[in-house]
């Protein structure tokens, strides 16, 4: 059963992401309200997909991506960045750091579901 870690300091935004991905069969969701909490959870348990905001307290999403990609165990974890920062610099930095997809808010439910489906099916092979 694929496990998704949804990371955003806004609870409403996490709920929106979960609602958008819910139609994908069999997904289970874990919430994290900060990048630090995400890193802690990733160090304690495996996940199949990370949906990550960029702007969070203490450390931002880019730093989380850099941390994830520095770990052998997490090197291939699919990461979707969902962010309000739609500028090209943020996009380039996120993708260079190792994000799999970059989506700007507002995104449509279909768009994020389609990205998640693609990444999960790619991972499954």
């Amino acid at each position: 059963m694929p496990e998704v870690l949804v990371v955003d300091d806004s609870k409403v935004m996490r709920d929106m992401v979960v609602a958008c991905l819910r139609p994908y069969p069999g997904l289970t969701f874990t919430h994290a309200s900060s990048g630090l909490e995400a890193i802690e959870r990733l160090s304690l348990q495996p996940y199949d997909l990370l949906v990550l905001d960029l702007n969070m307290p203490d450390i931002g999403g880019i730093e989380v991506v850099e941390f994830v990609r520095s770990q052998d165990r997490l090197r291939h974890l699919p990461i979707i960045i969902v962010t309000t920062r739609g500028d090209e610099t943020s996009r380039t930095r996120a993708l260079e750091a190792g994000a799999s997809r970059f989506m700007t808010k507002p995104f449509t439910p279909d768009a994020i579901l389609s990205e998640a489906r693609g990444l999960l099916e790619e991972k499954r092979g």
Partner: protein
């Protein structure tokens, strides 16, 4: 397969979170403003303000509220520059940012009222955009030359602002330290996580940055969180906050030399109160929409009513001789479970009074500007909590009292100087939750006090002789001590609204003390919750009524032979008194107050009496007989046509018949005159 979710469904949740974020943004902006006045940068508050706006922007984009997206975007742009400038914001930026927050707030309210958000007001975006250049032009001050002893790889992960914060923030009595926390599954199971550690550490110092470090860690872990802090706490306290060993502490800067470290300059209370609180979002807290809590309450209400029906049915069975022993035992257990569930739901509905009042500093700030008065607001609300429904009703009354205190009560700086007072006036709000389910609130000022003669002259009546009488005049609808309505306190919205909220809507108490030249204090007492109550059910003149247990001080027997009629007080009416433990208490016949007669036509007070406090004094309300105590769900009578002073609402006791829930103190006060004229027999009854 397509996603069938409609993001517009998230609007109620969006509004709740936006309200919360705006509260945080206001707090942080006030803190930033205070720091600007002191010429000290406050990078953390700038960052938190930025984040709050950024989140509002993202959420608003998701639910398609374009005006808020635009305003938040330009506000965060200027704040990003301030962040890069080490948390420095030019003073001229504060007002446009305040304006931006107000405009966002207004649009959130419009959406909450089911309206469209208005377009961005003309010129606002230009004003916010112009802030960018000002902020960029601010030269960062040179940091104090305190060397940072941090590995180069870690130092490289700090922004310039964070590095500066660490080096300049360390000083006499305060040092920069690195606290290492190692998480693991066993600790997580005990609730020791990076979130809980951060919360505990925040009480001991200022967290500048937290860096995750992978690789072999102390205690056999593979991940370490390095928390870089400014603190004056001892190492042992920091290690304990991080869950004990294997946590470690290393100094990043030495404490400033000198035989005795100079103490931190003490900040005036208003500034202390305006410092940003550590962020309270996330962690172990779950936000729930109020409508969901209301739904839980509705379900509980149905259970409570059903249980009453069940109790009645079992009583009938027992009376008919059926073996009901086990049924009764189950019913008792069920009653305990319902009470527990009731307590759990009430706890869920409780909000911190401090959170409810977070807008007051902003209000006072605005009043400082509009009135030109120097005002210090002191809030001493502690950890008191109250039901969200009560909080929502109470807040406008508190806002009005604080507004009145600044606008009417406090003198101008010149007047205060001439009166030998400090130029800065004081408004203080303190709360104390009592175990009896009541919240005491004090709002006091050190202003000019209420001039009873002036009030009497304006009202065209004799000078009130007591504080209660003076308050009574002040609470007359439309009464104002001002000749002309001002922008902040006009004639229309006066103390009558405050009293209506506190006394009529919440069934609470409002009192006042004032001393000319020295100030005024309003004392409010409100119930912590008004929806689920323990009630006494009684019968009076052939009808059933309920009253909140918390409002009743005592139940006494009324022996007609021991009733005493005394000559009346100041107004000349006779008073019927009943003896209570050696002292005489006025007694009122409830059926008289209600304008009812007993079916048998018998007059005089009933056999039992409920003693309640009316304006601080005990008054006994005689009723015919007590039927018992039970929990009820209070349904407010919102329709103005059926709302009557002294009737708190209605409830269903389980038999489908509506039962009025009375607020005896208000009823007694409201029907004072009526009681006198309707009193049975030759004597006239009135409350003192």
């Amino acid at each position: 397969m397509t996603a069938s979710v409609d993001l517009a469904d998230f609007l109620p949740a969006y509004l709740a979170e936006a309200e919360e974020l705006l509260g945080a943004a206001n707090r942080h902006l006030l803190a930033v403003e205070a720091s600007v006045r002191r010429g000290i940068p406050l990078p953390r508050a700038v960052r938190e303000l930025f984040r709050a706006l950024h989140t509002i922007k993202g959420l608003s984009a998701m639910v398609d509220v374009e005006p808020i997206v635009s305003i938040a975007h330009w506000m965060e742009t200027s704040l990003r520059h301030a962040d890069r400038a080490g948390g420095r914001l030019p003073e001229s930026s504060v007002e446009p940012l305040m304006e931006g927050l107000r405009e966002i707030e207004q649009r959130v309210r419009q959406l909450a009222a089911g309206k469209q958000a208005s377009p961005v007001p003309p010129g606002l975006l230009e004003r916010l955009e112009a802030l960018e250049a000002v902020a960029l032009g601010t030269a960062p001050a040179k940091p104090a030359p305190v060397p940072l002893e941090l590995e180069a790889t870690l130092a490289a992960r700090l922004s310039a602002a964070e590095r500066e914060q660490l080096t300049t923030g360390a000083g006499p009595g305060r040092r920069a330290v690195r606290l290492d926390f190692v998480p693991n599954a066993e600790r997580a199971a005990r609730g020791i996580t990076i979130n809980s550690v951060r919360e505990r550490v925040a009480k001991l110092g200022e967290t500048v940055k937290v860096l995750p470090l992978s690789g072999p860690a102390a205690g056999g872990g593979s991940l370490t969180f390095a928390l870089l802090l400014l603190t004056d706490a001892p190492d042992a306290a920091l290690v304990e906050a991080a869950g004990g060993e294997p946590a470690t502490v290393h100094a990043l800067t030495a404490t400033a030399p000198g035989p005795v470290p100079a103490p931190e300059p003490e900040l005036p209370p208003s500034l202390v109160e305006e410092e940003p609180e550590e962020q309270r979002r996330g962690g172990g807290t779950l936000r729930v929409e109020v409508s969901r809590l209301d739904e839980a309450l509705e379900r509980l209400a149905a259970l409570v009513v059903n249980r009453s029906r069940l109790t009645r049915a079992v009583a009938d069975l027992t009376a008919a001789g059926a073996p009901t022993r086990e049924l009764v035992a189950i019913l008792q257990e069920n009653g305990r479970q319902l009470r527990d569930m009731r307590a759990a739901i009430i706890r869920l509905r409780m909000v911190r009074v401090g959170d409810v009042l977070e807008r007051l500093p902003l209000l006072v700030r605005g009043l400082r500007r509009s009135t030109g008065k120097a005002v210090r607001l002191e809030l001493a609300v502690g950890d008191a909590e109250l039901d969200k429904a009560v909080a929502d009703r109470l807040l406008p009354a508190l806002v009005h009292l604080v507004r009145n205190a600044v606008d009417h009560a406090l003198e101008s700086p010149e007047e205060r100087r001439a009166a030998g007072k400090p130029e800065e006036g004081l408004v203080r709000l303190a709360c104390d939750a009592r175990s009896s389910g009541l919240l005491d609130i004090l709002i006091e000022d050190d202003g000019r006090g209420v001039d009873a003669r002036a009030v009497a002259a304006r009202a065209g009546m004799p000078v009130p002789q007591t504080m209660d009488a003076l308050l009574e005049v002040l609470c007359r609808p439309g009464f104002s001590t001002r000749d002309a309505a001002t922008a902040t306190s006009g004639r229309g919205m006066g103390m009558d609204i405050v009293r209506r909220i506190i006394v009529d809507q919440l069934g609470g108490e409002l009192r006042m003390e004032t001393r000319p030249g020295a100030g005024t204090a309003f004392r409010l007492r409100v119930p912590l919750t008004i929806t689920l109550l323990d009630a006494l059910v009684f019968e009076c003149a052939g009808l059933r009524y309920a009253v909140a247990v918390g409002s009743v001080e005592e139940l006494i027997e009324v022996d007609p032979a021991r009733l005493v009629r005394s000559p009346g007080g100041g107004s000349g009416g006779a008073v019927t008194l009943v003896e209570r433990r050696g002292s005489a208490v006025p007694v009122l016949a409830l059926e008289t107050l209600l304008g009812r007669q007993r079916p048998d036509g018998r007059g005089g007070p009933g056999a039992k009496a409920l003693v309640v406090r009316q304006r601080g004094e005990p008054v006994a309300f005689a009723v015919d007989r007590l039927l018992g105590q039970q929990e009820i769900v209070l349904r407010p009578l919102e329709d103005p046509l059926v709302r009557v002073p002294g009737v708190a609402g209605a409830t269903d006791l389980g038999d489908g018949r509506p039962t009025l829930v009375l607020d005896l103190a208000t009823l007694g006060a409201a029907r004072n005159g009526a009681a006198s004229s309707l009193a049975p027999g030759s004597g006239r009854e009135r409350a003192t």
